[in-house]
């Protein structure tokens, strides 16, 4: 070991770990084939890509597709919707799981607590296909439970899934319903990490429930809140395929009638690139989304580190 301090070209050390390299081989192969090769494929964003001609013979057009989407009405619409819908999701969907975790933490009956957790995690495991199916059934104009309830209360029924103006509200509500329990887990985990002696000391000093919440609980989970906020903001462009208004959710929840508010960036990539068969244009928009996501992640991470001393990496 002592003489092997010469970095990664040390033959003896490499020999010693040769089975470890073998263990890493499948992961490296899969990553190269299914992640890095498509990354190289981004070259098509600068071409008029034709499958027949391939990457090497398709005509090179430089930044033409990037200039093209700057003039596209759909691109601006998708960009605006992505920012506003995700902004709304963060505004409402981010604080609620924290509040929910605090509430669960206050439950004193262990069995009730466990059952509550199990039940509220349920929707997270259900596919967006099923969830949107349920949403359309429950928000149906005449027989849907929500409109039946509205009529019973003396209101007119609402065409939730037919008018663009309702889409964001419905989407945020459904997302909160689906993920509030699941997203609270990480905050609950942070809550159990708080030193219990602090609470006992506070009780002796005569602190009430809300004072403990204000001075012990919230400061105790603040770093985790900060970290989760970074992740949430960083994924608003949906490039990571999860969280926020991602493609899976939007595609299943939307229909042609509400496209004015439902069209988001990755939906636009899918429609333009695959449905309307313009792969180079789709790749160009996809590349911008990917770059924006990375940029956002780096910026929020830097800010998070400055404020709380915690960063994702």
């Amino acid at each position: 070991m002592h003489k092997s301090r010469r970095g990664w070209l040390d033959v003896n050390a490499i020999k010693k770990y040769r089975s470890m390299y073998l263990f890493l081989l499948p992961a490296v192969l899969v990553t190269v084939i299914f992640s890095y090769v498509p990354m190289m494929g981004l070259i098509m964003a600068f071409e008029n890509y034709k499958p027949r001609l391939g990457y090497f013979h398709s005509p090179f057009v430089g930044f033409a597709h990037f200039r093209e989407f700057m003039t596209q009405h759909d691109f601006y619409l998708a960009f605006k919707n992505t920012i506003l819908l995700n902004g709304l999701m963060i505004l409402i969907g981010f604080p609620l799981p924290i509040l929910f975790a605090l509430l669960i933490n206050e439950i004193r009956f262990a069995a009730f607590k466990r059952v509550t957790q199990t039940i509220t995690y349920l929707p997270h495991f259900i596919s967006w296909v099923v969830v949107s199916g349920l949403v359309y059934i429950f928000l149906e104009d005449e027989y849907g439970s929500v409109n039946v309830l509205l009529q019973w209360l003396g209101f007119d029924s609402i065409g939730f899934m037919r008018e663009p103006k309702y889409f964001w509200g419905v989407f945020v509500a459904v997302s909160v319903w689906k993920e509030i329990g699941w997203n609270s887990i990480v905050f609950l985990a942070a809550l159990t990490g708080i030193d219990q002696e602090q609470y006992e000391a506070a009780t002796i000093d005569g602190a009430g429930r809300f004072q403990k919440l204000r001075y012990i609980t919230i400061p105790g989970i603040a770093p985790v809140i900060g970290l989760m906020f970074i992740f949430t903001v960083a994924t608003i462009f949906g490039a990571n395929g999860s969280g926020g208004a991602n493609f899976d959710a939007i595609y299943n929840m939307s229909n042609p009638l509400v496209m004015d508010t439902a069209l988001t960036l990755d939906y636009h990539v899918y429609m333009a690139g695959i449905r309307y068969n313009n792969p180079s244009y789709g790749a160009a928009v996809g590349m911008v989304i990917s770059a924006l996501s990375l940029f956002l992640l780096l910026v929020t991470n830097r800010i998070g580190k400055k404020i709380s001393g915690y960063g994702a990496f």
């Binding site: 070991m1 990664w8 040390d10 050390a13 490499i14 770990y17 089975s19 470890m20 263990f23 890493l24 499948p26 992961a27 490296v28 899969v30 299914f34 992640s35 890095y36 498509p38 990354m39 190289m40 494929g41 981004l42 499958p51 669960i104 206050e106 439950i107 009956f109 509550t116 957790q117 199990t118 995690y121 349920l122 929707p123 259900i126 596919s127 296909v129 099923v130 199916g133 349920l134 429950f138 887990i185 990480v186 609950l188 985990a189 942070a190 990490g193 219990q196 429930r209 770093p223 985790v224 970290l227 490039a239 493609f247 990539v269 899918y270 690139g273 695959i274 792969p279 990917s290 915690y310």
Partner: protein, 296 residues
């Protein structure tokens, strides 16, 4: 905490609020279940809440006798099983190797594997490349691309780091190979994290439909979620499937299954397997988050 024995007003309010939230979470599923167990004719005219109207298993019989739906169910089961084993093995092996910090090039390889978490080629290059690999209308398209998530590797590595090195070393002194140490010592000690990763991957595969929409036109290869999406979005398909199921039932006095009942029953079938599994794994994935939160 827990000093007070009697429940205060605040405790009661919390329990009430939580019960209401739980009801809102459960109601859509109970409603669908009740509908799928109801007589089709009565379900259309009566208001169903959580109790079936005219209990019958006929809808399930129709669905399970429909070869299109059964085929899709089978495809989903197969892709989930294969996908979980494939991705689980690749990630566990990689995570174990990555715990060896003295290994030359360790940090470089880790970085190489983690970069795609933050920057990807995106939909179009992936689509074109999948076409070039001749994976269109090939069941392998459901499995091969999903072998490695760096995020899962980081979770598993965090867990492996807690296993005492002395255990591995003593086995190696006894002459066990690296692979044997991994298989016989590290893996058995890592059931919580293995189960968590298997569940993440399993749920993902079970619920996946987008790859089928992109790459598969052969109806025999449709997974259940994709077929369900088509049933829910295209009214003609649910009518056709319901009609197929009712052909055999003609004249036996049973109410034919309506397209609505067929939708509900397929929806329940595509949901129940996951609902039955995740509560048993709950303590594992919560532990996984705990490790993450403490580390973070």
């Amino acid at each position: 905490m827990g000093k007070r024995k009697t429940a205060t007003a605040a405790d009661i309010v919390i329990v009430l609020v939580m019960s209401l939230i739980c009801a809102v979470m459960l109601y859509p599923f109970l409603y669908s279940l009740a509908y799928s167990l109801s007589d089709s004719n009565r379900a259309m005219v009566e208001r169903i809440t959580v109790w079936p109207a005219g209990f019958t298993l006929n809808n399930y019989k129709v669905v399970f006798e429909n070869s299109t739906i059964v085929q899709a169910f089978l495809i989903t089961v197969l892709r989930t099983a294969a996908g979980v084993v494939y991705a689980g093995a690749i990630v566990a092996l990689a995570a174990y190797a990555i715990t060896k910090r003295q290994m030359p090039g360790n940090r470089l390889i880790a970085l190489f594997l983690i970069i795609p978490m933050y920057f990807t080629g995106g939909l179009l290059p992936t689509y074109i490349w999948t076409y070039k690999l001749e994976l269109f209308n090939n069941p392998l398209v459901y499995i091969l691309p999903y072998g490695f998530w760096a995020f899962n590797m980081l979770i598993v590595r965090t867990f492996f780091d807690t296993i005492p090195a002395a255990l591995e070393e003593s086995a190696k002194i006894d002459g066990a190979s690296d692979f044997k140490v991994f298989l016989k010592i590290v893996l058995p000690l890592s059931m919580p994290v293995t189960a968590t990763i298997a569940m993440f991957n399993g749920v993902w595969h079970w619920n996946a439909w987008f790859d089928a929409m992109l790459y598969v036109t052969d109806e025999k290869l449709y997974p259940l979620q994709y077929l369900l999406q088509k049933i829910l979005k295209e009214s003609t398909l649910s009518q056709t499937l319901a009609a197929q199921g009712n052909l055999g039932a003609l004249g036996n006095g049973k109410t034919p299954t309506s397209p609505e009942s067929l939708k509900m029953t397929t929806l329940i079938i595509s949901t129940v397997p996951i609902v039955l599994i995740y509560p048993f794994l709950q303590k594992y994935f919560i532990k996984g988050f705990l490790v993450g939160a403490v580390k973070g």
